[in-house]
Each structure stands twice: as C-alpha cells, then as structure tokens.
C-alpha cells in the first residue's frame, strides 16, 4: 500500500491499477494468515515475541513518519513510549474503564504531552531539535526512575512498593490469553497503520512533503508550517502512546529498565534500516527490534551482535542506501530476478546463433 505513496503522492485510494490490486490481494491474504491461524500455531514464546514486534512496529511507525515524511529526527521515542505506558497505567487504575478507552486515553494523553513539548521545540530545527529530544528523553527517564509506574498505590503517582501482583493494565475480556491478545494488538496496529496512511495520502501528507523539500517554498505555497509540524508531532506521539498502552497490557508489570536510552538509539537504527520513505519500513523495523534478538537468542548467540549490526546498519544506510531495506530489498530482488532471467536465457542464446 505504501510503496506507491511516494512515487505518486496524489494518488487517491479510489484509482487502483491492476498492480495495486494484486498487491492489495497479497497483503490481505498475508494479514488474514497472521491474524487468524498463525497465533494458534506458535508456541507461547513466539506469540510473546510477535506481540512485542507489533507494539514496536507501531512505535517505529511514529518515528518513521517524523523522519521520512517531515524530516524531523527524534532521539527519544522510547521515552515517549514509557510516557504512554505510564498514562495507560494511570488511567487503568483510575477506574474500570474498558480497554479501548484506556488505549485511546493513553494515545490522547501522550499526544497532548508530545504537542506541549513540540510547540517550543519547533523553534529549533535539525540537529538542535534532535538533541533536545535526547535531553527530554534523559529527563523523562530520570523522572520515571524515581516515580515509577502506577501499580495501584495511593495518590496521583500511584506507585506502591507493596507488590500484590497487580498487572499495570488489565487486558480486554475478549483477549485475555496470549494468542487472543496478539490478534487484538495486530488489529489495533492495522487501524493505526491505516490512520497513518490516511494522513500520508491526504492533505497533511502533501504539506509534510512540501516542508521536507524546502521550508521557505512550503511557506510561500501557503502551507502552515507550524500547524503541520505540530500535527506530525501529535500524530507520532498518539501512535507511540497507544503502543505504550498495548505494551503495558502485554507485559503486565512495568519497570523503568524496559525503556532505556539505548533502546531509543536502537529504534532510530532499525527505523533507518527498515526504510523511512515507506510505511512498510516500520514493520521491518519492528521485526529487527524484537524478532531478530529472539532468533539470535534461540540460536544461542549474544544479542550484542545485533547492537553492533545495527550500528553498522546506521552507517550503511546513511552512506549508501537512504531508502533502507524496504526500498533496497525489492530493488535487489528485481536485480536478482533479472540476473536469473538472463542466466536462464543465456544457454539458449548460443544454440540459436549456431
């Protein structure tokens, strides 16, 4: 769906070529497979991993939009995720609200905080904006280390050392067991991806593209730069906040160490490697972030290898492949297909010439 977005930004959802239809068909079949039979087929370990992948794909989607669409870099998205989890837990302990409301509340709460942060930060740009997000992430991490996450304690902060086994956020009644929760998370993920797609293909997407190309030109064309930059911040924070809610209900208990500054940097690496100019890149990033470590773990290899690999990945993407894997892989496959086709044809050619 997203691969066509960049090439033809003005394409409306209504006019589909046959290629798009085939692609949409494949995507639907894949989605149905992941959604219905897959969770039942996997062991609980892999269900757990895939739920993580779903959550982090949504987080990656937020950063993907910021970097790829508007050209803003945030080095503190994991801190925003922590904020989302905190808000979700806070709302969940405030009363027995239904889970979708908790998710929505987490998204909206994080969105308000993200926008408040974004408003002054918009005066800065490029490097300075990235650095201020790094500073904010540091500040949020220190604050959360002290206040901890709400777990049913008294007061606004709601943290108690008394561990009674309270889960941070209760899962919805229809998705209490792990496979059902994975399906639930995937459905939420799909809704959020569609929300992002709708933005990218609509008016905001065009405004963001104009801003990314040249701010003065966008200004001259009558694009409200402040509004649309803030909009991007708000959308990314909303996505990350909902992901925080999903994460809180997934892991049960929240600890500060689950949200490290290092993860913010790793997230940046995987989002770059996945590719920032396509929404597919976010899914690749989620897989990189949570699926690959599990695979390595299964093979008995240290996960630190991945940290090194991601470091190399950042350099490789910035030096040679700004489109990331989601652009490079199809291109490489096409090249490979061409090579194979030529290799198959070549033996036939001499016969004909003789």
């Amino acid at each position: 769906m997203a691969t066509t977005t960049r090439a033809r930004p003005g394409l409306s959802l209504g006019r589909w070529s046959s290629g798009d239809a085939v692609r949409a068909g494949i995507i639907t079949v894949l989605l149905l497979f992941v959604l219905i039979p897959l969770p039942g087929m996997l062991s609980s370990y892999w269900v757990d991993v895939l739920t993580s992948v779903t959550v982090y794909s949504i987080v990656a989607l937020g950063l993907n939009l910021l970097m790829g669409r508007v050209g803003l870099v945030s080095l503190g998205q994991i801190a925003v995720l922590a904020l989302g989890s905190w808000v979700a837990a806070r709302i969940a302990f405030a009363g027995g609200l239904p889970f979708p409301i908790v998710l929505l509340g987490a998204g909206l709460g994080t969105m308000v905080l993200g926008t408040l942060v974004g408003l002054p930060a918009l005066r800065l740009s490029g490097l300075y904006l990235a650095l201020i997000t790094l500073m904010l992430a540091g500040a949020i991490t220190v604050a959360l280390r002290t206040t901890n996450f709400p777990n049913g304690g008294p007061g606004f902060l709601g943290h108690t050392e008394d561990v009674r086994g309270n889960p941070a956020v209760r899962r919805p009644d229809i998705a209490v067991n792990d496979p059902a929760y994975l399906r639930y998370a995937i459905v939420v993920g799909i809704i959020l991806f569609l929300l992002a797609l709708w933005h990218v293909r609509g008016r905001p997407g065009r405004a963001w593209a104009a801003i990314r190309q040249s701010e003065p030109a966008a200004l001259a064309a009558g694009v409200n730069i402040t509004l649309y930059k803030l909009w991007a911040f708000a959308l990314a924070s909303f996505l990350t906040g909902v992901a925080g809610g999903l994460l809180a209900a997934h892991v049960g208990k929240l600890y500060t160490y689950q949200f490290s500054t290092q993860d913010s940097i790793l997230l940046l690496a995987v989002v770059l490697m996945g590719g920032i100019y396509s929404l597919w890149g976010a899914i690749v990033a989620g897989l990189f972030m949570r699926f690959l470590p599990a695979v390595l773990d299964n093979w008995g290899l240290p996960a630190d290898l991945l940290t090194i690999l991601f470091g190399v990945g950042i350099l490789q993407v910035l030096l040679t492949a700004p489109g990331g894997l989601s652009q490079q892989f199809p291109r490489d496959m096409k090249k490979l297909a061409g090579l194979i086709a030529r290799a198959v044809r070549r033996p036939a050619a001499p016969e004909r010439s003789e």
Partner: protein, 295 residues
C-alpha cells in the same frame, strides 16, 4: 533548608564532575566547529577506553600507567579512524545526518563492550584517588582536583592553540567556511584529521576520569555524554569558554541539589533541564519557519 555544612562535600564532587563535563564539552565543540560533526559516540569511545584500561590494570602484569595511556590513545585512534573513514563521504551532508552516523559508531562500541565485558558493574580507582587533601571538613582527592584542572587547562590550551598556531587558525577557518578555506590551499582533510585525533584523545581522558568519579559501566558512561552535551549546547556549540563555565555550572547544580531531600532523587535531570531551558531561551527570538541549517 540544609546547612552550609551539608553542601561542602557536594561542592567538591560537583566541581570535579563539572570539570569532566567541561572537558568533554570542549572536545565535542572543537570537533563540531572544525568538521561539522557532533560526535555522539564521544562517551562510548571513552567508556571502551576505560574498560580496556581496567582490563590492563587488573588482568595483566603491565604497569598501571600503560593502561591509562592505552585508554587515552584508544580514544584518539578510534575517533581518528572513524573521522578518516566516514568524515569525507558524509562531509557534504546535513549536520543532523553526520551526528546520526556517529550514533552508528556508538552502537558498534556499545555492542562490543557489552559482548566482551558483559554489563557487570566494575570500579576503577586511579592512583590519584589515594592521595587526598584535608580541607578542614571535607576530603578532596587528587582525581577530583585533576578533573577540574584538566577541564580548565584543556579549555585554555585549546583556546590558545586555536588562536596562535597555524593549525588552529586553519581549524577556525574551516569552522567559518569550508569551501573558501579549501580554496585558500588549507589541507582540509589533514586539518580535520587533527581535530578528530585531538577530540578523541580528550574523549579517552574524560572516559578514564569518569570511570573513577562516576563508575565503570558501559551504558552509564556512554550516555553520560548527554550530560556533557548539555554544557556544549548551552554554549550553542560555539564558544569553548562558555562550554567550560556551563560544564562547571551543570556539574555544581547537579551535585548541590543532593542535600535537598525532596528533589534529591531528581538531581540527574539537572543537566537536561538546564540544557532545555538554555536552548529554548537562546532561540526565543527565532522565527518558527526559517530553520534549515541554522546553528
């Protein structure tokens, strides 16, 4: 309100930490001015140097001094290597891209460190820590004095170097305009390499000092760079004198908050809060829309 007595020990730790913040800040600012690269791997390089020094001190029969020397040299060599390999291909790119690329180096080093040394906390005690001074009520050790002195000396030394040597003048010219400097016949690559090397040596020294003052732990030391960055940001990545002052202020404020019990636990936020406030204050007159490539 805590009494004056309660503050005294924290003035010392604050000044020492501030000295190292200033040292790192100056190292980063000089490199940024000369090459346009904000080295976010500064802390990771220092951390790895310190871990190598720890290895040499504890697990070899070599004299300890070799370990300390290797730490500083490692910082210089790794940073220079990165600069020579990745500096030129990224030279024409946006400052943001260059800074992001150094995060790649940071991740590589972080992965390597946690692979080789695991995440176990270690301690490093420099010989200077055993010599201490009694200042009436508080004990000052030489590592703390060294940290503050090194911060001040390096700042003054760098300032003089930039002012009076031809290499320093070339660096200042590069900071102003790369194209014109190259046209005037300054060997840009060589001058940049010198900046990378100098900044790297500083990162090694800062890593060594921090491993003693704060603790030897890869992740902590790597991300302490964010606190040092606060000092550099307050100076808008331009003035090394302001960086020195800001570094010491950041260190002092962080330490002096400790006796206030109600906010003591939040003291590590101080560098970030100071940097955020300073950045927003300094950019208050900037128009929101015109923003590309400005510093």
């Amino acid at each position: 309100m805590p009494s004056w007595q309660d503050f005294q020990p924290f003035i010392i730790t604050g000044l020492a930490l501030g000295g190292v913040y200033a040292l790192s800040g100056v190292g980063m600012v000089v490199l940024y001015r000369a090459t346009g690269v904000l080295n976010l791997a500064f802390g990771a390089v220092g951390a790895m140097g310190a871990l190598i020094a720890w290895e040499i001190v504890n697990n070899t029969t070599w004299p300890d001094g070799v370990g300390y020397l290797v730490c500083v040299l490692f910082g210089g060599v790794i940073t220079l290597l990165y600069g020579v390999l990745f500096g030129p291909p990224l030279a024409a790119r946006d400052a943001l891209v260059k800074a992001t690329a150094t995060l790649g180096l940071a991740l590589i080093l972080l992965g390597a460190m946690s692979w080789i040394w695991s995440d176990k906390a270690r301690s490093m005690v420099l010989p200077t820590t055993n010599w201490s001074y009694d200042l009436g009520t508080v004990l000052v050790n030489w590592t703390q004095i060294l940290a503050l002195l090194l911060g001040i000396v390096v700042t003054i030394g760098t300032g003089a170097f930039l002012r009076y040597t031809s290499l320093g003048t070339a660096m200042r010219a590069l900071a102003n305009d790369r194209e014109i400097t190259a046209t005037l016949g300054v060997p840009v690559r060589r001058v940049e390499a010198a900046a990378w090397l100098g900044s790297g040596l500083i990162s090694g020294a800062a890593g060594l000092l921090l491993s003693n003052l704060v603790g030897l732990d890869a992740a902590t030391l790597t991300f302490l760079v964010i606190s040092s960055l606060a000092a550099a940001l307050i100076a808008r990545l331009e003035s090394i004198t302001v960086t020195l002052i800001a570094g010491i202020v950041v260190g002092l404020v962080t330490a002096l908050v400790t006796p206030f019990l109600s906010i003591s636990q939040y003291r590590d936020m101080a560098p970030f809060v100071l940097a955020i406030v300073a950045l927003l204050f300094l950019s208050r007159h900037r128009v929101v829309s015109v923003s590309r490539g400005a510093h």
